[in-house]
């Protein structure tokens, strides 16, 4: 985490790529597409795109559910990129940027 916090360029380059987070307290790992890492706190923001997950089927198909994780840096044991998963397209990332601002 610290290695990303001090490298803003690295964070920007990796936006939209899938990351997997393991927690210090052994709770269930989380994965999502990198949206941001705060340079002050190191808080990690990951995006969960509902269209890529098959576990939740909405009874209202016209509603799109989007989930975001904000993960406190001191809770993170490890934070690894998974390049085997297709990253978000730049259009999708832009849509998320608009949704979250």
């Amino acid at each position: 985490m610290d290695s990303y916090k001090t490298k803003p360029k690295l964070i920007e380059e990796n936006r939209g790529r899938l990351f997997r987070v393991l927690f210090r307290n052994d709770q269930i790992p989380v994965e999502g597409f990198l949206w941001n890492i705060d340079p002050v706190s190191g808080t990690l923001f990951l995006l969960k795109d509902s269209s890529s997950s098959s576990s939740i089927t909405s009874s209202h198909p016209e509603e799109a559910e989007h989930r975001v994780y904000s993960i406190m840096s001191d809770a993170v044991r490890s934070f690894e990129k998974d390049d085997s998963v297709q990253p978000l397209s730049s259009e999708a990332l832009l849509e998320w940027d608009q949704l979250l601002s």
């Binding site: 803003p8 964070i11 920007e12 890492i37 559910e65 904000s70 993960i71 979250l100 601002s101």
Partner: protein, 91 residues
Amino acid sequence: MVDVSDNSLAFQQRMRTLRFYRKMSSSTPAVVLYLHDQKELQAEFSGIDSSESKVAVSHLHTDWGIVDKAVVRAGDIANIEYILQQEEGEI
């Protein structure tokens, strides 16, 4: 020697964080707070301070009922999951 472009990227990233919290404060989405002791709390997000030390929530589900308003110490939180609902066609 400080790299100027690193600074401007860091600034962008900080602004991203702040805009995110501002947006969440106005849309007050349902959240799940994952605590360090493995507990999960359901609530609605109200706000957070700029140093991310305290999180204000409403409709906090507890074992003894739903608490109207509460402040949770961010130090107790490992992860916050924001559940954003958006209808198609809505910006």
